[in-house]
Symmetry: C2
Subunit: 461 residues, 2 copies
């Protein structure tokens, strides 16, 4: 593993002069205000990202948690160079009408190979936002199908009113989400996102309910009783909202770990409680695994930590999947007529093929198991650092969740800026949380590099 | 041009037994009810699509109007095989944070090379739905920015209320669209789509206004006065809605030709009228060129037929672009803060590179000019056929609009099924409209094939 021998190397200020110049040039035609640095992807490799100034960073941010198996991964390069990839790029199909003869195999050998138990069907999409909205639509159509009665055809009034965005054709139905959640930025998904004003301000939204997400106290072992009460409070509020909202709640969407919103965790019991409530009230349970899916928690899917008595109704994915969509099991979630859940492209076979290569690499190299193992070591080391610097590493969380680890630091933004200057690319979330999102190929050899930079930064802040 | 020598060849019923079996197998994991036939893309070439049963069709549907320059196009294959494509596939960036050093060039040599006059900035996306929603968000943020006053920061009340999906942070603002329009299937874009119940039923929507779109009578020359009055009626209704809606109308979205909704045309004067009204009332004018853009109307952009006194504020694109996004000119449409118009991937550089190759091919081969020329010939021939079979080819439309030609036939669905049996793949839209959507490489040699099949079908129906 050549990446293990590499070390970070910082030769300029960050961003460097070439990055700054490139971003400035780009800004005339493409908003560049959020650029961290401009990248030389040809020189990036494995866990290391190299910028145009020649700075090499250990990347534990991984393109906002979306690079699964490293830069210029050989298995992915082979997939990208394959003749069927060339055909998928050149002959982009309207998959719903004219799928390629290989489409079934691409799904079977890829996404369906890692589908969680009970969810054996897939609808492909292009982003996590789109995947979540498609899941909402499936839930809404199912709700009305049940309400209408099986086999009852659409009424003329429903048909005419929906074209006017009016009831009954355009019904008032809601998706329940949680405070501090992030589910995307489309008008439907953004109505369930509750993380930050910068995502939502000035954008019209649906009047949908928001439940509190448990605010657990750390360390967990010392706050077990209080945390259990907090989770019970949140579950009670979920049930109160479902049963009292001004319109029916057709679906509930929840992240296994609230990521953008601050890496907020809850217990398996809490999620089992959600499964019980959604079953009880006939609410479609959507688990948003856009960030938690594909192995980083030490299981392939974050919700597999819960041992639910029955699987979630829908699991959405994107990011490290390198494509997007939703998995489901109940064929009633396929709408009653064709063309209801439909669009021109329905995803992108080229990206679904890349996803298949990612899955092959993850399974062949046992990267989920590696992430579980490495995450345990990393968490242990971070615990020691937290003991040494309790003011700088607060609320350390993610134990037993692979490398999906985070902690609070009142100067989180300064912390990550200082880390970059030491050659470690790391991100924030929530208000003052540092989130670690290494790739699945992050291994024991990278831990000292990360910890050494952290300790240097901590002692300097 | 080898494709010119090819002829359609139908050797089985349509769909053939292999297509049926493949679709049935797929259906267990992926909704297959809308499949026309399953495709062998390796054997497809130029204007011809070949199915798994060995049937070869002249394709004038082109993956729902999204294949620009033919199957297995050499220029596109070269792009797909290039080292930078491999890197884009393997190292998928979060473009807003960590763009590649080549990103600026990819935009300049691609999308910005064909940007309409006055629109020199771009935001990339992955679908037409997403592009339109991003345009709506840009318009809403601009509206509130002006209302708030330049330099006035967000209030605490705005910040807290938007997280609750409440006013003032989540304002009531509207996008006006037209009856029979299609702008996508996300919750925001679907609220502006007004084409068919199958797109909209059971999905909650925003209470946004819908104006009538001119219902022109054909032939245009014989109905000039009546059509002008119809367009004036619609314009008056647009103004009435803008000035009387229950909330501010921040944007108007319109297709140059309503495509999914039935290939409905309006005059340049009508669109100039919309430009005047949107200017007068400070409404952002969004032209949805998802289907009309990239040459099929005989100009690169459909709105270039209008000679507007000032360009549209935003032009959205997808389909034949092989990527998606919006073009704009006013830097006020870039939100006041970073990360407001943002998402993890912000499009897909691999697809933007494919778009660059499409653009190169279109410009190098003068395919827009070819489409204008071939479209004129095709329209002339169809006029003769319409004279001969006036009951079967009604309301022929698209004169002077390249190959973007359509007509009504009361048995449109049977018509296109019969055309498939003769080896021509063609689509419908609206209620009983046959729409021609050949690729830009459709040339004079394909006209007799298309016409001959049409006449056979017409005389048999």
């Amino acid at each position: 593993m050549p990446s293990a021998t590499l070390q970070p190397s910082v030769v300029t200020e960050i961003p460097g002069p070439k990055s700054k110049a490139a971003a400035q040039e780009l800004d005339a035609v493409f908003d560049s205000r959020a650029i961290h640095f401009v990248v030389d992807y040809d020189k990036s490799e494995g866990n290391y990202i190299v910028d145009v100034d020649g700075n090499r960073f250990l990347d534990v941010y991984s393109q906002i948690a979306s690079i699964p198996v490293g830069y210029n991964n050989k298995t992915l390069i082979d997939a990208a160079q394959s003749p069927e990839m060339v055909s998928a790029l050149v002959n982009r199909p309207a998959i719903g009408n004219f799928p390629s003869k290989s489409w079934h195999n691409v799904l079977q050998e890829g996404l369906l190979r890692v589908a969680p138990e009970g969810l054996d069907k897939v609808f492909t999409a292009q982003s996590g936002s789109e995947a979540n909205e498609l899941a909402f639509k499936a839930a809404f159509m199912l709700y009305r199908r049940k309400e209408r009665g099986e086999g009852v055809d659409w009424s003329a009034h429903e048909i005419s009113s929906c074209l006017e965005n009016s009831k009954p054709g355009s019904p008032e139905l809601a998706v329940l989400s949680f405070a501090n959640s992030f589910h995307g930025r489309g008008f439907g998904s953004l109505s369930t996102t509750r993380s930050k004003a910068v995502h939502k301000l000035d954008i019209p939204s649906f009047n949908w309910p928001q439940a509190p997400f448990p605010a657990l106290k750390y360390p967990l072992e010392q706050n077990a009783k209080e945390n259990e009460a907090e989770e019970q409070r949140c579950l009670a509020e979920v049930e109160r909202l479902i049963t009292s909202w001004h319109c029916p709640v057709a679906a509930l969407i929840v992240e296994p770990i609230q990521s953008e919103g601050g890496d907020n965790h809850a217990s398996a019991a809490f999620f089992q409680g959600l499964r019980d409530l959604t079953k009880k009230h006939n609410v479609v349970m959507i688990v948003d695994e856009v960030q938690t899916g594909f192995g980083a928690t030490g299981k392939f899917w974050g919700h597999q930590h819960w041992n639910l008595t029955s699987p979630p109704d829908i699991v959405t994915f994107s990011k490290k999947a390198q494509t997007a969509g939703y998995l489901f099991g109940d064929s009633m979630l396929v709408p009653d007529k064709a063309y209801r859940q439909f669009n021109t492209w329905i995803g992108d076979p080229a990206r679904v093929m890349m996803s298949r290569a990612v899955i092959r690499e993850i399974l062949d190299k046992n990267l989920v198991e590696q992430t579980a193992r490495v995450g345990d070591v990393l968490y242990g080391e971070l615990s020691k650092l937290a003991d040494k610097y309790p003011e700088q590493i607060q609320n350390l969380r993610g134990k037993g969740q692979g490398t999906y680890i985070a902690f609070d630091n009142k100067k989180a933004a300064e912390f990550v800026a200082a880390m970059k200057r030491l050659g470690v690319n790391v991100g924030t979330c929530g208000v003052h949380t540092v989130r670690l999102r290494p790739m699945l190929i992050f291994d024991e050899s990278h831990i000292p590099i990360l910890l050494s930079a952290m300790e240097k930064v901590i002692s300097s802040l």
